[in-house]
Symmetry: C2
Subunit: 433 residues, 2 copies
């Protein structure tokens, strides 16, 4: 599914390692993930810090203090998110104080601002809320421009080792601006200067093993660049990341590696700067002054939804029809009734007629069609009845020619629909190349 | 964003607690989350086990062994996922052996089956792969029906406390069947019998604070039921969970709580058994022998995509048109050109005409329309130019009447489009009630 190789490490400056601790019992249910840690990891990487551990812990003082002690023992920078609210379950402050064996003091200025916040809304402040003014002895207050709980940063030492402890609020809309605007500049002053560079190459519809076999001989030569291969949703991503004390050096290294990998993979690479497949297709259409319309059967609007998720997609995408029934295939894309009866809706004939029909009906330069069996049930009585689930036809029509591509996809309904839309976009991309 | 309250604990049987450890450096990049832990948490909960910690650790022997030692100290059941492959980075076996200070032995039977696996593909087995036959001394081999790496379970004790250690492969397609088919029956024999019951109530388009204010007085009375409130994507979910040594008791408790909450929230609850809003709407249409067609402008196919993601949606959803340009609004839904010119596309008039037009064009019993400004850029020159981003009209037409609902949404493009589709579905639901 994925692999990471190499270390973005400069031997002259040993990397500081961090542990991210997310506090909240709801993240220990089957229903919710920690989501802050991806953002925090990117931010810490930007500062030249590697994340070595992530821990998720519930709202228990004992467990939180254990997590804090464990992280203080094994990492340099400890970033807590969550547990700074006013309720009895908000215990991060107390847990960190206990782990470090230090006190908490009630900050008069924060207390005043809490009272002011409630007064401005003409509400009495509940008694509980005063604990949001509790600050670790020696910590710097990180003023939270969005919510009521301030963050805290403590620069301390344990057994002679320097430790940076950050307490951040849990809601992403509070955590993100606080980190970007307040924490990052503070850390940048404390940590040794380090510049980072990233590149992202994206490839659709190609097996991970093939990408790895062809690119590993290249990226393994760049031991100073961290290469991560991710596979999923009909796409392979190659992430390159390095850090250096010299910005231009870092950028040159990832650019060189990215260029060599691109030269190897050629037109399998649809994006050399991280753009999505939808964005690439829309840009190509726009640059060629072409417009597109779609007739979707089994994807039911997924292709249109993906294209229109991109801002300004209306410059190239006109819309089209969701032709989920045989009648609508005839009504919106002029597919002859008897063609559907004779060949079935999941046939190269109907795929071709749909692509041509939607193009003519809308006046678009290109018409694309998707018709297939997404399952879990088979086709309706008639020619489609015996066809296998996963059989999909993509039609692409312009004013000279119509091509039809047959797919045999293997997966559940969601998988088949997604891959069908992915194949449609890639057929467009390759045709427009 | 979310809260959890109560403990699914029966005081006569203290709950065993677990730590889930995901091994893999790619999960410490900004690009990839651990995904197995949600599945594993649900499975462990089913067995009456609470997850107290989740840890994500990279492919480092030192860090993995530290994570293992930490988990052995603070929890009863330790579940590793990942790090059982054949590469140098696959170090979970070695790390656990080191943390427990026990040996590994090479299992002859597994070794033979590995050689057989490669022979069957007429490939020589790379030398590295033999380490997949390394088993912790005293562990039970968990035969993996899908991949080459077997799982392992060790029932041991540390400082007089019983510890269960599970080593599972990382790929979900291997981990899931192995847990369900092999691990779960084994654990069920070892652990005290315990029955669990769950219920899920879902409510669309209602603020979390309002749900919490109205339901907390009820669910707080059920201290034996764990209640988790999740908010997101235009929906509030109330998850109820309890475990007991008597199945009927557990079910009765969550059913009673769910009924009382439902009585309080009334028709805000669209799903009392966890069904999605799409499923509920399609079921209501089918039960009333009605059909639906959609004309989508700013959502560009999202509504159709959501409806057709449900198997058998074609029984009630016919399809419709993605009318992204003014021309297609006229061409596919017969909206008069001069109406669009005079009122703009984002107007109650066009919304109404679109809903009526698509209904008549398709012969559906109901026609629904979505037209709005999703941003980030404003409307085109003309009447839409001065309208605010987030303004959306939903039209719903049947053979007697057409209603138009105005929304003023506040968020980015993705948010506005999603909420617009959510409002459209809920308008359908409330109309069909």
């Amino acid at each position: 599914m994925s692999a990471t190789c190499g270390h973005a490490e400069d031997p002259s400056h040993p990397i500081m390692i961090a542990e991210i601790i997310a506090a909240g019992s709801e993240m220990l249910t089957p229903h919710r993930q920690d989501t802050n840690s991806l953002f925090l990891t990117a931010q810490l990487n930007d500062l030249g810090v590697e994340v070595a551990f992530k821990t998720i812990v519930g709202d228990s003082l004992e467990h939180l203090a254990d997590a804090a002690r464990t992280a203080l023992r094994r990492t340099d920078i400890i970033v807590f998110s969550g547990g700074l609210g006013p309720t009895e379950d908000d215990l991060t402050r107390e847990a960190v104080a206990s782990a470090l064996d230090i006190g908490l003091h009630r900050d008069a200025e924060i207390l005043a601002s809490l009272y002011k916040r409630f007064a401005a809304r003409q509400m009495a402040m509940p008694r509980n809320n005063v604990k949001q003014a509790d600050i670790l002895d020696g910590a710097t207050v990180l003023v939270n421009p969005v919510g009521s709980a301030p963050g805290q940063m403590l620069d301390t030492s344990v057994d002679g080792y320097r430790k940076l402890v950050l307490l951040l609020p849990g809601p992403p809309r509070e955590l993100k601006p606080l980190f970007t605007d307040v924490v990052k500049p503070l850390l940048a002053e404390i940590l040794p200067p380090r510049f980072i560079a990233r590149r992202l190459l994206r490839m659709p519809l190609i097996p991970e093993s093939q990408v790895d076999a062809r690119t590993a001989p290249i990226y393994q030569q760049y031991t100073d660049v961290q290469t991560t291969i991710l596979a999923g949703h009909g796409e392979i991503q190659l992430h390159f990341f390095t850090s250096s004390t010299v910005l231009s050096e870092a950028q040159a290294r990832v650019d060189e590696l990215a260029s060599r990998v691109e030269a190897e993979m050629q037109d399998a690479v649809f994006s050399a700067q991280g753009e999505s497949l939808e964005e690439v297709v829309l840009l190509m259409l726009e640059m060629r002054h072409l417009t597109l319309a779609a007739a979707e059967s089994c994807t039911g609007g997924l292709l249109g939804q993906r294209l229109t998720a991109v801002p300004n997609s209306s410059r190239a995408f006109l819309g089209g029809a969701i032709v989920y029934t045989p009648e609508l295939k005839t009504r919106f894309a002029d597919v002859p009734e008897e063609m559907i009866e004779r060949h079935g809706a999941v046939s190269p004939e109907v795929s071709r007629a749909l692509a041509e029909g939607i193009r003519k009906r809308t006046g678009a330069s290109l018409g694309i069609s998707i018709t297939g069996l997404a399952g879990p049930n088979g086709g309706p009585p008639g020619p489609d009845e015996e066809r296998p689930i996963g059989l999909v036809y993509i039609g692409l029509s312009d004013d000279r020619d119509t091509q039809v591509k047959e797919l045999n996809l293997n997966g559940d309904r969601e998988y088949i629909r997604w891959w069908a839309s992915q194949h449609a976009l890639d057929l467009l991309r390759r045709t427009l190349l």
